[in-house]
């Protein structure tokens, strides 16, 4: 069972209940260490800052405080206040400053403390950074990363303004890439790739996953920002999932394996641009598809994925695609109401059973 690391979030953490063995990504024999998702992110930042002096961090309370979730802890001591740069509370200007710095050759990695606050930065992200390259006819590029924690689960009960999953806001905007890793391995490899990418990348981190642990290779590696990742191969049904939901999908797959149902789990991982190929291929193979996302159901990511399945695999489908999603509700505070707001393993199991009928 996973243990909660010292880097549990500042806002309190409920111990993860998933076993890290559910997802093993480092091949046997490759030197690796176990670390948390949060440590993996921190390591990616550290390594990229060492590798490239143009990389710097900018955001609220990321300095000595180490950020609201402690992700940047120790980096301030190592790199100092210029490269781990605290800002006033000014989300739009953090994003815009990242764009400006990127335009003159820097490689900013900005942090917006919660994705919920990114509504304040929407103009700079979606109207300026995403469009500058096209608007200027290719005269410039905007190589930044904006890191934003999202999702429920930082000790839970963070209520309506600190718990949302908003990947769709950004995935709908051409010019942006949107990434949301589910494991320490992916988090490190994708973040390093995002920092080296020449485009503005929205890098969403899942708050509840920060304390999740897993193996990460010792050597330098990057992962492509263009591929869904098959986390588990299977024959009977495809589960397409994102972020923390990948863990529920994996747990559901394990549960159902005992019943002889072979589940393939596709981790979307890069929300946009979407790897339609991989989703399509898996759907054609199994003919049965479940989509799982934590975001609110309506106009959430599962719509797009479902439509892609429709386009790529309609003739192969043996049952309607089923989705398992967050409730269409602002997130309530009380446990009794919050509990039902997000999907869990049982919900995924039930959905799989439904498409198997």
């Amino acid at each position: 069972m996973a243990t909660v690391g010292k880097d549990a979030t500042s806002l309190g953490t409920t111990a993860p209940t998933m076993s890290p063995d559910l997802i093993m990504q480092v091949p046997e024999g490759v030197p690796a260490r176990e670390m948390s998702y949060q440590e993996a992110i921190r390591e990616a930042l550290r390594e990229e800052m060492l590798r490239d002096e143009r990389v710097f961090l900018i955001g609220e309370d990321i300095g000595v405080h180490g950020g609201a979730f402690g992700v940047t802890r120790t980096l301030f001591d190592q790199f100092g206040p210029e490269r781990v740069r605290n800002t006033p509370i000014s989300e739009n200007t953090i994003a815009g400053a990242a764009t400006g710095a990127a335009l003159v050759g820097m490689r900013p990695v900005a942090e917006i403390m919660f994705v919920d606050f990114s509504g304040l930065a929407m103009d700079q992200i979606a109207n300026q950074a995403a469009k500058l390259r096209l608007m200027t006819g290719g005269q410039c590029k905007v190589p930044w990363v904006i890191r934003m924690p999202q999702g429920g689960g930082a000790g839970k009960s963070t209520a309506a303004q600190h718990s949302q999953s908003l990947e769709v806001w950004y995935a709908h905007i051409p010019g942006l890439k949107v990434v949301h890793p589910s494991t320490p391995y992916d988090a490190k490899g994708l973040l390093k790739a995002a920092i080296r990418d020449d485009n503005p990348v929205i890098f969403l981190e899942h708050k509840f996953l920060y304390a999740f642990r897993g193996l990460v290779p010792e050597e330098d590696y990057v992962l492509p920002l263009s591929q869904c990742d098959i986390k588990r191969e299977g024959e009977d049904v495809t589960v397409v999932a994102l972020g923390y939901m990948v863990w529920h999908a994996m747990a559901a797959a394990q549960t159902l394996a005992d019943e002889g149902i072979s589940v393939e789990v596709v981790d979307v991982r890069t929300v946009s641009p979407l790897d339609e190929e991989t989703i399509g291929r898996s759907a054609r193979k199994t003919g049965r598809v479940v989509l799982v996302a934590e975001a609110c159901r309506s106009y959430g990511p599962t719509g797009e994925w479902g439509m892609v399945v429709m386009e790529q695999a309609f003739d192969y489908l043996q049952a309607p695609v089923v989705r398992v999603t967050g409730r269409n509700s602002p997130i309530p505070f009380a446990d009794s109401l919050e509990n039902g707001v997000w999907p869990d393993t049982d919900d995924v199991v039930n959905a799989i059973r439904r498409v198997m009928e």
Binding site: E60, G63, P88, I89, L120, A159, L337
Partner: protein
């Protein structure tokens, strides 16, 4: 300014109520009974109480993530507040809001909005509503030093100024926004200067002195009520606790905190009341005891209250 004995005692009562509420909340948090975050107002009681005692019940305040104190200062019932932070159906927001979002419309608190600065535009709109309806009510958004650096703040003060809206913008300068000292995040020491950008009065008072705050607030509120427009009121304060209960405070020296704790507004006001013979030691002891009991009752009420029924999960999304 002549302040009646009743008012003085009510100020004392509310300050102590805030303090005891926060201590009880932090205690519950430590014992794992409060989920989410608790942002204690301890040390800033004179600011919230000084301001809210200058208000009528039908005046409105807009709060922040740190608004237990503002709500109590405005007259909210600790029972319903405690129930709210425990996520109970008997809470002000029926358990849907929690610590960061306590609204108590019945006592003129239109909500605590945890996105820093977001209460400003809403309070400006409420004031616009008052003005259009010909009501002489006043809207009071609270923000912190950190909040005064947000775009919302600028837009809101500007909009209120051009329409002479009845708003008192209270900027509680407790010197930190999470870990970020205001000396770092603003180039000026006296934030009340910012009022000049909008051609409105900027007033700066000792936020540990409830009477100083009250006097300044009364003046600003009267000005607003007369239709003469908004005021920026900066209360110079300090938060004695971490940003939230349990926060490690790596960004400041204990010595600095100790120094500020000497300014504790409650003992200071207590001394004043006794010295000026507004109340005796034992009268005040009685208030303290009464409020401690009130808080014990509130905790019990909250703990014994039921959580919301999951069957009501889809309530209150649409009207």
């Amino acid at each position: 300014m002549e302040v009646s004995r009743d008012t003085l005692l009510e100020m004392y009562r509310r300050m102590v109520r805030i303090r005891e509420f926060e201590l009880a909340a932090m205690d519950l948090f430590k014992r794992g009974q409060v989920k989410g975050a608790v942002h204690p107002y301890i040390g800033q009681e004179a600011s919230g109480v000084g301001v809210c005692m200058a208000l009528r019940k039908d005046d409105l305040i807009a709060g922040t993530h740190r608004s237990h104190g503002h709500n109590i200062a405005k007259g909210a019932d600790p029972k319903k507040m405690m129930a709210e932070i425990l996520g109970k159906e008997t809470g002000y927001c029926k358990g849907r809001g929690g610590s960061m979002h306590i609204a108590a419309f019945e006592t003129g608190s239109l909500g605590a909005l945890a996105v820093v600065g977001s209460g400003i535009p809403i309070a400006v709109g409420a004031a616009l509503g008052f003005k259009m309806k010909g009501e002489d009510r006043v809207a009071v958004p609270f923000t912190g030093d950190g909040g005064s650096n947000t775009g919302n703040w600028h837009e809101g003060l500007n909009m209120a100024s051009i329409w002479d809206l009845p708003v008192v913008f209270v900027l509680e300068n407790n010197r930190y926004a999470v870990s970020t000292n205001i000396r770092y995040s603003a180039k000026i020491e006296d934030l009340s200067i910012r009022a000049q950008a909008y051609g409105i009065p900027g007033v700066r008072v000792d936020g540990f002195d409830v009477l100083a705050v009250y006097e300044a607030a009364v003046e600003a509120v009267e000005r607003a009520r007369r239709g003469e427009g908004p005021t920026l009121l900066v209360t110079e304060a300090y938060r004695f606790e971490g940003h939230y209960a349990g926060e490690p405070e790596v960004y400041r020296d204990r010595a600095e905190v100790q120094e500020y704790r000497k300014k504790d507004p409650i003992p200071r006001f207590r001394k004043y009341l006794i010295k000026e013979e507004k109340a005796s030691q034992s009268e005040l002891d009685d208030v303290d005891a009464e409020i401690r009991q009130e808080m014990a009752d509130a905790v019990k009420f909250a703990q014994e209250s039921p959580q919301p029924d999951p069957a009501t999960a889809m309530d209150y999304i649409y009207a």
